[in-house]
């Protein structure tokens, strides 16, 4: 089995000291091997943002794409190389804002990939504008009077579209993070992992203590991850005034993944299929047009 070291490289992250992304980084270095993966058996697809630089700081196959486009790139990748484990890592602005449409369609397709969203409720890399998950009234440079957009509820959105794995975790709880990530990596289909991640530079109102005071583990409160309505009720708790549920809110493995159903993939991964076919088939193409 690989170890965290196998996934490490010598590049020092550019994140601010204290940034919640370090926790996610450490969790990934441990979750990946724990899920039985090696650097060349995973493809980590990221978007653009602070946290999307994740694959620059790992020894792993990586695609660092465009702001908001991690999911379609990952979908194309998965379809062409479906025995690779595909893990997306990106920010809330990236995944839920710019990438919202890809998010919703990835969910309903149940494409087999892990979608880790580093949710710091702000745009970090562009220096602190409000994000789709920002709390109402959040004062930023693009909302000097406080935001008036109500926050997006991404877990509820995923559930509403029949997501097969919906989870949340918190960057200060390494064990919890690892457990949730490993479960996601072993899941059949699309797995959403929303990570509560403090941004110490631009979202000081939501610091580690703020989160610590609010998070609670759903599995310690009799939650049934097979009950979609219960999951929805938990999802609606946050964003909100009260507590923040973490853990696996919902999971089912009864739904086939998208890639399981694509006829072309029955003969094996696309990337390994020969480019030339049985010569007899070619004539038929011309006959169709004759």
């Amino acid at each position: 089995m690989a170890t965290a070291k196998d996934f490490s490289n010598d590049i020092r992250p550019t994140w601010c000291p204290g940034c919640g992304d370090y926790g996610i980084w450490n969790a990934l270095k441990r979750a990946l091997p724990e899920a039985g993966l090696e650097p060349h058996t995973v493809m980590m697809v990221t978007g653009i943002g602070c946290g999307s630089k994740m694959n620059d700081y790992l020894h792993i196959n990586g695609l660092h794409t465009l702001h908001g486009r991690a999911l379609p790139v990952a979908t194309g990748y998965k379809l062409a190389h479906h025995d690779m484990t595909v893990v997306c890592v990106h920010g809330d602005g990236d995944g839920y804002g710019m990438g919202g449409n890809h998010f919703l369609h990835a969910v309903r397709r149940n494409i087999g990939l892990v979608d880790i969203v580093e949710n710091n409720h702000v745009y970090g890399l562009t220096k602190g504008q409000y994000s789709p998950t920002s709390r109402p009234g959040f004062v930023t440079k693009t909302s000097p009077e406080g935001t008036i957009d109500r926050p997006e509820n991404s877990l509820a959105l995923a559930l509403s579209q029949g997501a097969t794995f919906v989870a949340r975790t918190f960057t200060l709880d390494l064990k919890h993070m690892i457990a949730v990530m490993v479960a996601a990596m072993n899941h059949r289909g699309y797995a959403l992992v929303d990570v509560m991640q403090p941004c110490v530079s631009f979202n000081r109102g939501m610091d580690y203590d703020w989160y610590k005071d609010r998070v609670y583990k759903v599995d310690e409160e009799g939650h049934d991850p097979k009950d979609r309505m219960m999951a929805m009720a938990r999802a609606w708790e946050f964003p909100g005034e009260g507590r923040i549920p973490i853990g696996i809110l919902y999971q089912t493995e009864d739904i086939p993944t998208y890639e399981e159903q694509v006829p072309a993939l029955e003969r094996g991964p696309l990337w390994q299929q020969p480019l030339r076919e049985d010569p007899a088939k070619y004539k038929a193409l011309l006959d169709e047009l004759s």
């Binding site: 196959n61 695609l63 979908t75 696309l270 047009l289």
Partner: protein
């Protein structure tokens, strides 16, 4: 001027079978060894309105659309009104005998043939077969062997069951018989011996090219006039092992293609201008990550939704310059289905050899017009497949400190596919990067990488094919065209040369990098550029790349394709 060609035109409402009849006619004539150019004219609606299909057929080679109509099938009265002016002397208009059209406005030189189309159709089942009856009447008028039409009916309706086939065959026979007793056109259209041909439009040819080039992944969002390329790939996907994804948007489509291409699948995204706009950020990402991609861009008149089902050559500049930042790209604009097929093969090879993006520029006219083409011209069985510096399994094994973006002399770095080995784990990023793929902001590395990427243009330039020279090589008058206007221009050149006005055509399929030898072929004489846009987009590029003098240009910007006559008229003006 005597001529040996015939032009049939079928007009009616959307939903009346104009399209299927037109295509069926084209197939039948092609099977009879005749040359065919068949051009649809549709409104952006599903039913109603006025659509028509012009089928030009000739025992001699023909290439383009002309305006004259010999036999008009008027499925609606409006058809007569709209096309009367185009009727040839001695032309015949076929209409249903129950039509209220008085015929008063019909000149003496044109015959109004009132045929019991609905009656025959209804006798054998339903009025929807009136178009079948009309086609048989048209065929009977020129004494065209009915067996060819019967064959097409069998093929087209076969999947709908014996009863439907039989009914249509009965309609054909009755209508044919009817006309034989009633009327005939002055000339006849006989089958002839000839090399085997296929009848296909530009989209089918391009898609067949992509399929046989080993395209394994297509992501798209339906958009006229590119949709049928996608649909062709979907139709063949299961059997040929192609993953096709109808994506949530063109943005998703191009990014899915990037993912798939990065994995190692030959990937393609067909679209039209508006969809291409949405793909341009992804295009830029592919440029930065050096991901091979083929984009099929079928033009239609814009801006915005414009004339969604019509034709234009207004997106050359878009294809050339869209996508932020600087990276090499390739543009080809095939002039015929045969060239479209060929471009598909070349596009996938060039994309992989130079790890770049190839845009094949088509338009609605080429995309949906049917041309008879020599079957032998389509090398489906053994096209060259060149994946460039893609590392083989053995090469990967022999690798040591793999660098995906190694600085090389030609700018092309050896490419290992992720997952192929623990030795070739790497990052690809849209940020500026080091040779190993990781992010850098170092000034000299940034400069080196920028130059590396753009250096690839030099290699690509060696792949570009010279424009085609047609007609009198020493002629004073040179017409220059690109893409789909080829056919009409060839005929213009023939006509002028036949008239004693020495003319030649220089037609560009490969457009960017601008073919190095173009300047020599063009020579020093001033030229006239013919294209379907206002701004003279190709003209600008031509002047810039060659310094040649352009003494005039002919533009058509009403969404309709160039006809031979249109160009001749403009030349005279």
């Amino acid at each position: 001027m005597t001529h040996t060609d015939f032009v049939f035109r079928i007009g009616g409402e959307a939903g009346q079978g104009v399209e299927s009849s037109g295509a069926g006619f084209a197939t039948a004539f092609t099977r009879a060894g005749l040359h065919v150019v068949a051009v649809p004219d549709y409104y952006s609606r599903i039913r109603g309105g006025h659509n028509f299909f012009s089928i030009r057929v000739s025992p001699e080679p023909i290439y383009g659309l002309i305006e004259r109509v010999d036999i008009l099938i008027a499925l609606t009265d409006e058809t007569i009104e709209r096309h009367l002016e185009a009727m040839a002397e001695g032309g015949i208009i076929i209409l249903d005998d129950q039509s209220q059209v008085s015929g008063e406005s019909i000149p003496a030189s044109v015959t109004l043939l009132r045929a019991p189309l609905n009656e025959i159709a209804e006798k054998h089942g339903a009025a929807v077969m009136a178009n079948t009856a009309a086609v048989a009447v048209a065929a009977g008028l020129v004494d065209f062997d009915l067996d060819y039409l019967k064959g097409v009916v069998r093929d087209n309706f076969g999947s709908k069951g014996e009863a439907i086939v039989d009914a249509n065959l009965a309609v054909l026979t009755d209508a044919y018989q009817w006309v034989k007793e009633q009327a005939s056109f002055g000339r006849t259209l006989k089958p002839q011996e000839s090399p085997k041909r296929i009848a296909c439009n530009g989209n089918e040819a391009f898609a067949m090219g992509a399929l046989t080039a080993g395209c394994k992944f297509v992501a798209a969002y339906p958009m006229t006039p590119a949709t049928s390329v996608f649909e062709y790939m979907c139709k063949h996907a299961a059997k040929w092992g192609i993953a096709t994804k109808h994506a949530e948007s063109e943005i998703a489509a191009i990014n899915m293609c990037i993912g798939a291409a990065h994995a190692g699948a030959r990937a393609m995204a067909p679209t039209s201008g508006g969809g291409f706009d949405l793909m341009t950020e992804g295009l830029s990402l592919a440029g930065m990550t050096e991901t091979p991609l083929v984009i099929y861009l079928a033009q239609r008149p814009g801006p915005a939704t414009g004339l969604a089902t019509r034709t234009a050559q207004t997106d050359l500049n878009l294809a050339m310059y869209a996508g932020h930042g600087e990276f090499p790209r390739v543009i080809m604009a095939p002039g015929t289905p045969e060239q479209a097929f060929d471009c598909a093969h070349r596009a996938f090879n060039i994309a992989e050899k130079y790890q770049c993006q190839v845009i094949v520029l088509s338009d609605q006219y080429l995309a949906s017009s049917i041309f008879s083409q020599d079957r032998s011209a389509f090398n489906v069985t053994s096209p060259i497949i060149d994946r460039g510096k893609l590392l083989s399994a053995e090469e990967v094994e022999a690798t040591d400190e793999y660098k995906r973006y190694a600085l090389t002399e030609d700018g092309v770095s050896p490419r290992a596919l992720p997952g192929s080995s623990p030795k070739t784990v790497y990052l690809a990023t849209g940020n500026e990067h080091r040779e190993d793929g990781h992010i850098t902001e170092d000034a000299s590395l940034a400069e080196a990488m920028t130059l590396k990427r753009n250096k690839k243009l030099e290699g690509i330039a060696t792949e570009m094919q010279a424009p085609t020279l047609y007609g009198d090589p020493d002629a004073e008058l040179t017409l220059v065209g690109w893409g789909s206007t080829c056919g009409a221009l060839v005929e213009v050149v023939d006509i002028l040369n036949a008239k004693g006005k020495a003319t030649r055509l220089v037609h560009f399929c490969d457009i960017w990098p601008f073919p190095a030898n173009a300047r020599k072929i063009l020579g020093d004489k001033a030229v006239i550029v013919v294209e379907q846009n206002v701004h003279g987009q190709f003209e600008t590029l031509l002047k810039q790349a060659t310094g040649i003098t352009v003494k005039g240009h002919i533009h058509r910007v009403d969404g309709r394709p160039f006809t031979v006559e249109y160009i001749l008229r403009e030349l005279e003006a």
